[in-house]
């Protein structure tokens, strides 16, 4: 299978025949709506050509990979229930929908931007995707370069009203997760003129 038609190949043409769990490191739309799965029948793969891996199993095997023309999917339902069938269907639906894309997300909490080692609650922000909102406020121009923003309050924002206003007016979509002391809710909204309304964190509103 040449590189033009598959992002992966199997040098030995073998399969693991062993169960392993997806570690949650996928970053593209291939994994949209899919948080966890495992699989026993997994081909032993390496990337080739322009292939890009998007997610791995705990033993390091590629879970999904994609190339310019299509997507490879190694996960398969095993007929034991547990939602495997639906998760595989979601992955196939995602792959069939288009070339995978990775949204740019700005991680801007009023808390440390250093993630705890081993935490797997979400993708690890990369350099250029972190902003300590305790010491600064992203400009509208900076926000405009991202598809989404994630923020939560842990300490006082540098300028909570300004940040709230910028989020409300500049964003088409944002997500807020608040740990304390404001209510712990995750919300998302589209373009809104709602302004921040006090408290310790930027305020948003549901659509």
């Amino acid at each position: 299978m040449t590189a033009g038609y598959s992002p992966v190949t199997s040098p030995g043409g073998a399969n693991h025949y062993s169960l392993s769990a997806y570690v949650g490191d996928g970053t593209t739309s291939l994994h949209a709506g899919v948080l966890a799965y495992d699989c026993q029948f997994r081909d032993i793969l390496v990337l080739q050509g322009a292939g890009v891996a998007d997610g791995h199993y705990a033993d390091g095997e590629i879970a999904l990979a994609y190339g310019p023309t299509g997507a490879w999917c190694t996960s398969t339902e095993r007929g034991r229930g547990g939602g495997r069938h639906r998760r595989l269907a979601q992955i196939i639906a995602n792959a069939a929908s288009g070339i995978p894309t990775a949204p740019a997300v700005l991680y801007a909490p009023s808390w440390t931007t250093t993630r705890r080692t081993g935490r797997r609650s979400g993708p690890t922000p990369r350099a250029g995707q972190l902003l300590d909102a305790r010491t600064g406020t992203p400009s509208a121009a900076l926000l405009a370069t991202y598809d989404g923003v994630y923020t939560h309050s842990g300490q006082v924002y540098s300028a909570r009203v300004l940040f709230g206003d910028l989020l409300a007016t500049s964003w088409t979509r944002a997500t807020r997760s608040c740990s304390a002391p404001a209510p712990c809710t995750t919300i998302s909204w589209r373009a809104s003129t709602t302004r921040s309304a006090g408290g310790s964190a930027p305020r948003g509103t549901r659509p």
Binding site: M1, T2, Y5, G13, T69, A71, T76, I92, A95
Partner: protein, 78 residues
């Protein structure tokens, strides 16, 4: 059925053990999902048709055992 429910589109089944979809058949779909769990009816022809389908803009999603060559199943798409 689950895929159709998620995409809102049409999903049809083709048993590649007993036949090979023609180019016009493939062209009617936006994507093809295939995996091997038995010998393909004609793995070379199917591979060639999938390659032509990709060249024409189709999406092919290859799943488990499509690179498997250690046993009797070989599904290489040239």
């Amino acid at each position: 059925m689950a895929i159709a429910a998620l995409t809102g589109g049409t999903v049809d089944y083709f048993d590649a053990r007993v036949g090979t979809p023609t180019a016009p058949q493939l062209a009617a779909y936006q994507a093809v999902y295939t995996y091997a769990n038995g010998a393909y009816s004609d793995l070379v022809l199917f591979g060639d048709r999938l390659a032509d389908y990709v060249d024409a803009g189709g999406k092919v999603i290859l799943s488990v055992f499509c690179t498997y060559t250690s046993g009797i199943i070989s599904a290489a798409a040239s």
